[in-house]
């Protein structure tokens, strides 16, 4: 038996492709199928914490300088629960708690100024076409190294960025042109809210509780969720298009993305279980020639 697994035999060298796949799927199933309450609590706890900052600051209970870093953390934490919902991990279609899955997605994605359905359609396109220079919606995060990645992330948030175009094309390709209009409505609504606050004397509150935290958080999210796990962004096969790596900021600091390879292979495994699934699956991943780090 393997040290981390009661499923895998000690020696995999004699197993066929089909046998490896069967064992891999068996491990994946072991870590899936249960409702990840942690994602639900995370989503609504984070939302409540961020919303509470506004009255706390506006009524001078909390100084703006203290609320700003909290808002940055809130915005950085907002993506992962909606990511679980995009993959139907909280509840699959047709199940009793499906409404909760959709509620988590919709209730949190607006903080990132994107409709939940847009995130879902474009993210699933990324999974289908990982590292494809034409079809991968996240290909614009491809960069030669971490500094180049940061430069590229800022570049791709400019009005004329290719990333904007890639998202629009993905929506059109997936037969959802209606979501293009909805995306515009979200974007304009965001500016309307910021403007409404700003012209009523709350410009710095809007800047430091939403706009700037959003910019910082998006940089952080794209760096760790998009650039790092797919770097160098050239591998296209199922077992090589993502990697595992040991992050200098640890697994929590990199938002669990050290084990992103497990997510791409089995996207129905909840985020908090991917490290355990990775450790158990690692011998199979080694046998398949995956790009694995020291973790």
């Amino acid at each position: 038996m393997n040290a981390y697994s009661n499923i895998l035999p000690a020696d995999l060298s004699q197993l066929s492709e089909a046998e490896l796949r069967k064992l891999e799927n068996k491990i994946a199933r072991k870590y899936s199928g249960k409702l990840p309450w942690i994602a639900v609590v995370w989503a609504f706890g984070n939302l409540a914490a961020w919303l509470s900052l506004w009255p706390l600051v506006m009524f001078d209970i909390l100084p703006l300088w203290a609320a700003f870093p909290i808002a940055v953390i809130n915005l950085a934490l907002v993506y992962l629960p909606t990511h679980e919902a995009q993959h139907d991990i909280i509840a699959r279609p047709g199940t009793k708690l499906r409404w909760l899955n959709e509620l988590v997605g919709h209730a949190t994605s607006w903080m990132m100024v994107l409709p939940f359905q847009v995130l879902r359609v474009t993210h699933l396109d990324h999974h289908r076409h990982t590292n494809d220079p034409e079809l991968d919606t996240d290909i614009t995060s491809k960069a030669s190294g971490p500094w180049d990645a940061l430069r590229q992330i800022v570049r791709q948030r400019q009005p004329n960025a290719k990333r904007n175009q890639d998202y629009l094309e993905s929506l059109a390709r997936n037969g959802r042109p209606d979501l293009i209009v909805l995306s515009l409505a979200y974007r304009i609504g965001f500016i309307a809210i910021l403007g409404g606050l700003a012209w009523n004397g709350y410009a710095l509150e809007a800047l430091l509780l939403w706009w700037l935290p959003y910019q910082i958080a998006m940089t952080y999210i794209v760096f760790f969720l998009s650039w790092a796990p797919h770097h160098p962004g050239t591998h296209r096969t199922r077992y090589t298009n993502t990697r595992s790596w040991k992050s200098a900021v640890g697994n929590i600091g990199s938002m669990g993305m050290q084990f992103h390879i497990v997510h791409h292979l089995h996207p129905y495994i909840p985020l908090h279980l991917t490290p355990a699934a990775y450790r158990e699956m690692r011998p199979i991943l080694e046998a398949r020639g995956c790009r694995l780090g020291d973790n």
Partner: protein, 64 residues
């Protein structure tokens, strides 16, 4: 509605600058105790700087 949204989206940098950037510069200067040059009010200064920046982003497609 859709046409209106697309029209606004086409001039979004200018909309963003007018709606948000201008008051941010104005209130930011006031909070920092900075005065505008040439005897201008902070709001006038913010309108010039924010407006020019928005126009730059509108024309070039990038803020920086």
């Amino acid at each position: 509605m859709e046409r209106a949204l697309k029209f606004i989206a086409g001039i979004l940098p200018i909309v963003f600058a007018s709606a948000f950037l201008v008051p941010v510069i104005d209130q930011g200067m006031q909070a920092a105790g900075l005065s505008a040059p040439f005897g201008l009010s902070t709001l006038t200064f913010a309108l010039i700087v924010g407006g020019a920046w928005g126009l730059f982003a509108q024309v070039t497609g990038r803020w920086i």
